[in-house]
Symmetry: C2
Subunit: 335 residues, 2 copies
């Protein structure tokens, strides 16, 4: 493809902290960084509702420092941020659906926890580049096609509201204290090491489990809603570039594949790849419809322009790679 | 002036809760509502750093129910919101300057406290109209002239960031749970009952104190920065209209005078009205300049269009009225 050269070798010998590093995205970043020769430290709360999983580090367990701890632990974070060159900040309550039933937990982890991390940087290490994992759900109802970074932000969930305030923290700590921060607004990332315990987020993972178990997959409505599924290796590449690109500092970027897929195309790819499972269309339940955002097509030109990043993995290939991963490792992702 | 008729009599017999009701704006709303025959309940934490002051209720002390308590007290709020028709939600950590030195207190009061209030409404009273007091400081650096409600929101202070997330809560609880909420983004309100203890917010109050004491007033820079000073009776009118206008529900409005004044015009009006005090120009200190927003002219057509509201008090008249108030009552506002 037309990716600009990015010398990922720049990470060799670098000190990198990954919050939420036992989760889906964090652990994929960790695996890639170990290959590149970085010194990787991971902190993860292993909250059973979230995506943290020790198995995600299986092949690099002796090559990283992994701490079981919470980003809300100020003393712990103070120690961890010292000496870091880059911090990939992915620790979060991860379900927008859960956020309405655990409003104060979402507030505490996705709001206060982020402030604790940035305060720790302000007091102890203003030089580390902090790359924050935000979400398209900061936007709310979609009124722009394709969606740029200037789209209004009127979230329909507390998850989205707290991701938004955390975006603002990262911006403000750059403007006010000079801490180099970058915000990546993820669309629908999927791939290896994604949780498949439940259906509360990351539908490709959940659907792959159902398909592999030969079960029925329910699609709400006609399944024609447009989503932007982005494969995890492309997301990892975006994070690595963002962490080493001065032109990205203080900015917020969309991070998706830039391609449009109907929801049912994703389901069809999963069922077709796995070769098992069935599909049934059901009406939207009330509580889901309330937070349905509408069709989502992503303009990713800003991040590409700033970092040279271009996602390269099409949906079918990503689903195929994901299937290969779970064929070998599915037992570690069921509970 | 050209104000559309608004029958404020609609408040007669209504149950109204005012959070932060011992403060500058809250107590002015309370005084007006008592005149209109509403049943007024006030809750205020009386945090010494904020603007709460028992004297603000002096003339209506036996006509309202006033509770010394914190909006972060979930049980208290559960009891207070029940049976209310309108809730004027003004409780806040009020200084954007302090917010950087007490980040977690600002987070807790201006973030979590707002969520506690709205959760109390969701569980106990979804019918009450909640009018939230937000701030122009949600916007950050100004890039639009005049400023509409579509201006980007990139706050430069934690105060601004938390006012922003609270705006989003109010919007979301309207969209998701049908609670009628209205957000008013105040510019620079001033007037009777404003605190004059320190210079951390509300400069007209602080400057009037200095002038009345015959002291020197320092103006940062050349004093030509544009501000929108809005007199408190106009703000009170905006809140009362917002609380009773269905067309305002779920919306965010600018709430300023719609007039432009140079900072030094305000100072001149204060010194000229008081007839004492002197003025000196000094350089911007580093920590102030960092959060200086730039010139601010306000487009108030949206709120006027929705509610018929038009501010009517020009700066000189407002400063004169304010001076009359403090000539009689200044001793109650010094500590």
């Amino acid at each position: 493809m037309n990716q600009q050269p990015f010398n990922a070798e720049v990470y060799r010998g670098k000190n990198v902290l990954i919050t939420g590093g036992l989760g889906f995205l964090g652990s994929n970043i960790a695996n890639q960084l170990v290959k590149l020769g970085a010194h990787v430290t991971i902190v993860d709360s292993l909250n059973p509702r979230y995506g943290g999983n020790w198995f995600n580090l299986d092949s690099i367990r002796d090559k990283v420092t992994a701490v079981s701890g919470d980003i809300r632990d100020e003393e712990l974070m103070t120690g961890l941020v010292r000496g870091m060159d880059v911090i990939f900040n992915l620790a979060a309550q991860v379900s927008y659906i859960d956020s309405s039933s655990i409003p104060f937990e979402d507030f505490d982890v996705n709001g206060r926890g982020q402030l604790i991390l940035l305060e720790a940087c302000r007091k102890n290490n203003r030089g580390a580049c902090v790359v924050f994992s935000s979400s398209r759900l900061v936007l709310g109802r979609i009124i722009e096609d394709p969606v740029t970074e200037r789209h209004p932000t009127n979230p329909l969930s507390l998850y989205g509201a707290h991701k938004l305030v955390a975006e603002k923290y990262h911006y403000m700590y750059f403007k006010d204290y000079g801490i180099p921060t970058v915000v990546l607004r993820l669309t629908n990332p999927y791939g290896d090491r994604q949780q498949m315990k439940h259906s509360k987020y990351s539908m490709p993972g959940w659907f792959m489990r159902l398909a592999m178990e030969g079960k029925e997959i329910s699609i709400f409505g006609d399944g024609t809603q447009i989503r932007d599924y982005v494969y995890v290796s492309d997301v990892v590449d975006a994070f690595l570039r963002a962490g080493m690109t001065e032109a990205a500092h203080g900015r917020t970027f969309n991070c998706g594949s830039g391609r449009s897929y109907q929801f049912q195309e994703m389901v069809t790819a999963v069922v077709g790849t796995v070769g098992k499972g069935t599909v049934r269309h059901v009406p939207w339940p009330e509580n889901y419809e309330r937070v349905e955002t509408g069709d989502f097509r992503t303009d990713i030109s800003a991040l590409s322009g700033a970092t040279g990043w271009e996602p390269v993995v099409p949906l079918e290939e990503g689903i195929q790679r994901m299937f290969e991963y779970y064929k070998a490792n599915r037992a570690h992702y069921l509970f």
